[in-house]
């Protein structure tokens, strides 16, 4: 502590910065911004061609998420778009808010764990809905093995459960580390010369990070969903059929 205080490192300041439960004010702000955007976007929905900017952005967002689900999960992945839309808008709005305001819900690990819990639980819920409870549990035990190899299946089961928990940690930590790390770097740069916001130079790359983190969370959710909702052996043939047109298309 002495050393940190002697050097007057902003790292310590950032660590001591206490927002506490006021963070939910910022959560509400994210909520409000998204709702305002949705209201603006809904104005133009009646037109045959979407001309206003918010509506076009919303359309592009929808098409982007739909394309992602179709790419990663397959043609039946469109039903997961609502959840992904909620995740994406919340994270992206939070991240962008973090560029301008002093605190944001996505830069707080406690809140990110909450979102990760919902994501993982949602993936499990969809897996159970797609395969049934027994089929979903079977998913965890890897390929079918006979005889004494059942022990290996048990081992795989434990490993898979641990990896599910790691999903929780990795999802939340990734977002927290990227956003909060960016804030720390920015405040550190700002404090090199007092009164000159050098950290502002980082804004473009931080904006890019905001976009990437929202994208990463959604595409990881898609990947988890595609693993959880695949039907094991039956699905392999369907998958082949599904991939064949794409292959022929690529060759053509």
């Amino acid at each position: 502590m002495d050393l940190l205080q002697q050097l007057n490192l902003p790292l310590a300041e950032a660590a001591e910065k206490e927002i506490g439960w006021n963070i939910f004010f910022y959560s509400g702000l994210v909520f409000a911004i998204v709702l305002v955007f949705a209201t603006l976007a809904k104005k133009d929905l009646k037109n045959r061609v979407f001309t206003s900017l918010p509506t076009r952005l919303a359309e592009h967002l929808y098409l982007f998420l739909e394309g992602m689900t179709v790419n990663v999960i397959g043609p039946n992945g469109k039903k997961y778009v609502p959840f992904l839309l909620a995740i994406w808008t919340f994270i992206f709005t939070g991240n962008i808010m973090g560029l301008l305001l002093q605190a944001t819900p996505t830069a707080d690990w406690s809140l990110n764990i909450g979102m990760a819990v919902i994501t993982v639980v949602y993936v499990q819920y969809e897996g159970i809905k797609a395969n049934g409870l027994l089929g979903h549990i079977k998913h965890f035990s890897g390929p079918k093995l006979g005889g004494f190899m059942i022990l290996v299946s048990g081992l795989i089961f434990v490993v898979e459960i641990v990896s599910e928990c790691m999903k929780l940690v990795s999802l939340s930590l990734r977002l927290y580390g990227n956003i909060e790390g960016g804030h720390i770097v920015r405040s550190s740069l700002d404090s090199i010369i007092a009164g000159v916001p050098i950290g502002g130079l980082l804004l473009p790359i931080k904006f890019f990070t905001c976009l990437i983190q929202a994208f990463v969370w959604t595409i990881l959710t898609c990947t988890y969903l595609s693993i959880a909702t695949s039907h094991g052996h039956d699905d392999e043939h369907e998958g082949d059929h599904g991939h064949q047109p794409a292959l022929t298309e690529a060759h053509a």
């Binding site: 502590m1 580390g177 790390g181 990437i212 595409i219």
Partner: protein
Amino acid sequence: MENIAIGIGLAVGIAGLGVGIGQGLAANGGLQGMARQPEAGKQINNSMLLALVFLELVFLLTFVLGFLLMGKIH
């Protein structure tokens, strides 16, 4: 106490070094693949981003470790 602070700095620095090299390799492979097969660019891009994300996780774990150690300084 000073030891812990120095340790945090070292840990983050070394992790940044390794992860930087690893992400550079991943980006190298991805970009080369995209240059050779521009029509598969989107798929390669997605996979490359996923790989980068998983590599970054190593750094983030170190980052969090640094925070955990900082809690011991208090």
